[in-house]
Symmetry: D3
Subunit: 340 residues, 6 copies
């Protein structure tokens, strides 16, 4: 049976409700989330055995994050404890012409101050089949980047499939290193990469490109450059997102396996209840599709796109969607009928 391990930071998310601006709020909805954990929740929802590895502070807020992992059936036995605080992000949810706004307060978090050797990766990964990380972890601190590299190398050595969501965040990468100093080595070991082509090229320190995702001819050539740079790469995928407004998005996807380019139809997503975590929903759907032998690549991409669309209808970071609901959407029923 498959088991997926994801590694990263889980944060306290403090969001205003009903589109209020920060200055109008006298309360914050409190939930938890983070790219790699969100992927784990997706997979747990789909019935995949999943574990999340992170570092939590030894205080009540850290304990809340742990309870959240348990609630959503994500194994937490290899979580390590230390450091002073759980990272926080503040979210103001936009509407129409006003975009959402994120204020990060995650510096010096327990995860950012992780120390080498705290996690025994051989032990953690010994019965796993897939390891997932994202470009956020190497962006938060030098020690997090190093721990990520140790994890990726161990996973590679143990023969796990390694996936990475590039997840470039310009507000991070503040500790003195640029993506191109760190990401190339990390991506060497990756089997699956999710991200825009221009982001991938930027992170790998390659010449910038302006991919035309409608041009199914030129696209494989660009992807091939990635395959050349990343020796273990087997699959690259990209979420296509066209933003009409903060409340109306259009979502599609592209997947390339070195031979064939797969594309998924663009779907309208309106209204947007909460778009944070929709990329992680794509990633979760993609892993679910790729990990199952009975699902072909086109279907895997379709699942990823459907999961991403459905995530937009859900408050909070997680994609609380069942496989049934994904299937219903894929079978053409986007009609929002009341089930009764």
């Amino acid at each position: 049976m498959n088991k997926v391990v994801t590694f990263g930071e889980i944060m306290l998310r403090l969001s205003t409700e009903r589109h209020l601006r920060f200055s109008q709020a006298n309360k914050f909805a409190a939930s938890y989330g983070g790219g790699e954990f969100n992927v784990a929740v997706s997979l747990a929802n789909y019935g995949v055995s999943t574990e999340f590895v992170t570092r939590l502070p030894n205080n009540e807020i850290g304990a809340c994050a742990l309870k959240e992992m348990r609630k959503y059936n994500v194994e937490s036995k290899n979580v390590v404890y230390g450091g002073d605080r759980l990272g926080i992000y503040f979210l103001e949810t936009g509407a129409g012409t006003r975009g959402s706004n994120v204020v990060y307060d995650r510096a010096n978090s327990s995860m950012a101050t992780i120390e080498q050797g705290e996690i025994n990766w051989e032990d953690v990964l010994k019965d796993a089949t897939w390891f997932h990380w994202s470009g956020i972890t190497p962006a938060i601190s030098e020690s997090a980047a190093q721990e990520c590299l140790r994890a990726v190398k161990t996973a590679h050595t143990l023969g796990l499939t390694v996936s990475c969501d590039l997840n470039y965040r310009s507000k991070l990468w503040k500790y003195g290193k640029a993506p191109k100093d760190v990401m190339p080595e990390l991506l060497q070991y990756s089997t699956v990469i999710l991200g825009d082509l221009d982001t991938a090229f930027f992170m790998l320190g390659m010449d910038q490109v302006e991919p035309d995702y409608q041009d199914e001819k030129s696209l494989p050539k660009l992807y091939d450059k990635l395959f050349k740079t990343c020796p273990n790469l087997k699959t690259v995928a990209t979420t296509l997102r066209y933003s009409i407004s903060a409340s109306h998005q259009q979502i599609g996807g592209v997947l390339y396996d070195g031979n064939h380019l797969y594309t998924a139809d663009i779907k309208d997503v309106t209204p947007v209840v909460d778009r944070v975590g929709s990329g992680d929903a794509f990633m979760g759907g993609l892993i679910y599709g790729l990990i199952n032998d009975t699902i072909d690549k086109q279907k895997a991409l379709n699942i990823a796109v459907a999961a991403c669309c459905l995530k937009h209808t859900i408050s909070g970071d997680y994609n609380l969607i069942t496989l049934d609901e994904i299937e219903r959407l894929l079978s053409g029923d986007a009609s929002g009928k009341v089930s009764r």
Copy 2:
């Protein structure tokens, strides 16, 4: 003066707010509703003298339901008491590509366990002019079906107009009878039927049809079959609903009186605040139109469609809309101007 009596079950409705999934909610909005009661509230809003007959448990939750009837000016003097519980339904309101979800918990409710003879229908209906029931009541239990039949027969004998909303619910009908075992006799006495043609044929045990509601030629022929089967039938109407998404619906309507086919223009309904009860709003508008001598059939259908559209903008089961607001919409003002 007209007086309408409706008969059915009123339930406690427990819904998550702001599109939360059940697993995210730590509170439920509590309201009350049920198809036949919702029709009564609509009519009371329009100034029609209205009474609701049901069976309530003798506990505090039943008392809340009774207060709700009073609040909305629906006469409750013939409510009977007994049984153990008020039926409940849980509602998770969808958005966009994610449909709403209803979890019924109404088995063994006070209404489902009603015993024959508890209601003196001659007495209840003696000063009424219209009796309304729906396909939900015969679906919840054998005894409810029998009581419904007694009511319908008495109403017919006393010369009341009898209307039925077919309201097929696949999650009900669990007590051993199928619609075709029960509905044909009940529908014999009905003067007005609201429902899809295929549902009607299915419930009457007739050959299935696939009506094309755009085809104004073939439609009367299909309706004529209903008229043949239901000897007292005078009016059949159907809500036309096209679901673009859970947040965007298109609503129209068709009415046939045995001679003439009336149609109402399709209206866009977006966003959908709450679609539960929108069929009941249509029914309430239709009865209001048909019961008033000064309103012709086309206008009655238009009112029904407008009421149905407006209901989608209101939280909860009831159509808390005034005649003024319906008139404003019918006169072309869907613009949502602020009235000040």
Copy 3:
């Protein structure tokens, strides 16, 4: 440096949440607002030194309104105290085909019962460069109208730019005077007028017109009539609003300076979180543009339209929008990207 003084009434705003009808609400969101104060908040957000002059009751509710002025950095040192109550308005926010509904309860407010001489306008306006009033103040009571006239005259004498938002409210004007009895004298001193042409002609007692805002040829001629009637007029502007539904509006604008007609493109605004105060947001943007020497008239109009659009995404009366956000929208980014 510029300093803008606005004069009018601030009210307690009691609104139902989540589109609830009044009869469904057991709580009201409490905020504060009023046309001229809303303009002041806009300008304070943009960094303009701003003062609001009004009359407040000497009770705890008045004290809350004062705290609100301070919170949003609007100078309140010339507020006068007296009278019995803060005006109130109740708001039920519509959706789709159901418009919002305002119930005014502002009669006999402290502002409506202002007495002549309570405000020393020479003192208040001595270091200001701009005075703003609206057609609401002369509509609430005779004494408010007279105080408004004293203010306008003083501002004119002191050489301030005087702007007026016509703001016709049919539910006001109940004290025995019609707009044409009062507004012509007041508008004589105005340098900037915001309002529909038909409203302006109506308030000035002129022959009614039916302006075609798409007809850029005939429009200047109509505006020229205004310029003839109002000797100090330099700029007239109109918000163009097309209501698709309560949840979907289209916003544009027109500005005429006696020589040239400027127009701004129509923008889609959907969903509408709260449209109350969107006209005040237009006015605030317009003043900001006109008061800054570095901003040309086309840009000033564009800012006004963008501010008006963005206001629709914010709960409450105020346009809590930064100049950055306006610039981002003007530069074409209506995409609602998450900033992180």
Copy 4:
């Protein structure tokens, strides 16, 4: 069968939650209440046929008040409509050493501007046995005082028992008349008076007294003076209230019938959830006791005190308490056991 009619003002009550000060609140809990209506709700809860007469504005806020009457089973068929607004009171609930604070905003309400002849008292009272009014109504305006007098006289003529809760409010009586100008005539017709002796003497323009409610000897002599002044008086009662703090009260009562002095033991009331309306709860209990032939005067007083105590545990103006709960408390069970 008995029927009680009460007459007075019902207001919108806007209260902060969880002991927040006004300046901290961004929402108000909205409910409805007023002394005489609260008495009606108490009696309806006890199963007494009850009607409330008032004047409501013809707007949505007035409609909410009407729905509230219906919800609590208080007959509203003789409510008249007119005037501009529903009276409002703002409530900040204290705790411990900080008392609760009420800000009235009830001037110019529909009830205060009632016009003579709007209510046909002969018709209203023809099948009633008891009429209840309070000292609030003659305090709000001259026309309300006059209408109250017409009601009291008619009730007296028709042979009804007339009860009055003196309810002195120093923040009212602002229209030019003092209690002693108005109350003596009104109290002439009263059969039952509830209030402190010093308040009664003050309102009747008699020499002030300082009653010692522990002195069961001197008390009858003071009460006898009242009986001499009010020719129809049969029963006087007083709530005894000792305030330890806003959260801890001690409640007892005294009743005198011209012959015998009845006293009820002092009960501790802590914590106080909401004390507004606790006097009305006493009044409701007293009427219930006196109206029932099977209840003696001592029991009537005990019921009044128990109802008053229990009201302190309930949010809002009304005493939502059943007879069972009163009996349980009277039988000595104040233990707060969970009923399950």
Copy 5:
């Protein structure tokens, strides 16, 4: 290492907030609980390996209950699925002289309709050291009683310590059996019993007693009768509860081991935030004390009493208290200092 298994029903708990009566509430706080599950949560909080066995419906509400088990770290791997509904209880939290009120709606729940053989008790209990049940399970239905007996017998055979909280609920036991028909056999296998002596005698069908818990002489004699009836009994304990009011309780405890009577001092508990589950908190503390070799019986009783007291300060059914907090209270610090 110790492992405790508890068996019983988990319900959806719907409670009004801020002491509202049912008729005032338009929302319910939704949480989960049930006597035996509450004990499991207590033990999990103390770091004991704990598992809960129950039967859940295969719907979204059942899934919520499952997530709750996971969140609080209670093993759920042997939960079985079937039946139609999760049991519900409605809770209105009292204050002062008004007691809390529970409305049960748990008939026909998945747990009540459990079928024999669904749970493989040998497998479930094979690595456990302690089995806990309560008098609620045999009270809900015949099949639940039988399953409970199978569990108790298996636990006894496998050599587990078996504890029972008598938990008499007069609103249950409706299926045709009285406690004395069922409980004697079940209690035969119990090693630890928690409950009042009179309840124990009643359930065992013995002559009723009126124990005086202050009389440390006569008490052992009464307890000895229990020991004679229950051959495996080693420890009996009783929570002493004196109810001053719904907001003020006094809590103590008694423990008897066949030789020695242990008593714990009475502690004042005020205010009471939520008393539901406080008996389960006592039970959880008792098991924790008895299961640990390093804790003597006096200390075990003290822990049980302290846990019970602290539970009253926590909303919801569970005793979310740490061992540290219990120790702090036992060491005399009830002062409620802010820890900072």
Copy 6:
């Protein structure tokens, strides 16, 4: 006219509502506070001209804190901007035997990373008469301690009265210095000290004492030692607090001026709505009393104690109490009467 400047950190306060534990909360009430800012709010409420100096991050959360200063009329013109984050503290409000719990997350805040020279103290203090600081600022970081010393020295040089609330927090002082390394120099310049004697001796590195605050003989001798150590000291005061439980406190006070010992009666405070900031309320009352020539020292102490008591009835950090309310309490009216 007097002007008071206070200096310190303002934090975002995130608290659970209704006594919920952190793990139960899915939202946090968001407010702002900090010892020295709380003192400033108290004084502003009393009508004293007050300014708060701090360092805020240049983000939306910092902007919220700034709006809070404005709302409560505390001058903010010398606030400096820089650093990454606003400090946060999480608060779980206890009840009864369960104390409140604070989780600090204030490391690396903008205030903690203040750099020397950012604040021009000569300029800030030039028109002030009083400077207030507390033992928290030197506890958070070395640079904050140094900036505090610069402020204190400048205030002393300019002839301001300097007051200090010792405010020892064991969870702070983590940067390598102990109080005795830093506080002695700071306290040299202080004219007024608020704090326990043992805390004062500890912070000054003197031999520990165990003061008996009931022993009015020995107390002056202990205080005299402080006067010897702190050459500018004129007044020492101590809040006396006896904790019965988290919900019941007893508050008194002692003041010594080098000659005479003043004491204030112990007052019962129950229930406790929120005790955070009650020491700051004492400090605010003390400064108000000492700064006014017309208030003698006994009255100053009484005001401080009354303010402290009243603060316990208010949610949030601030003492939102008027002088009127303090006077009412001092005049013996703790009865919590409704003011109406």
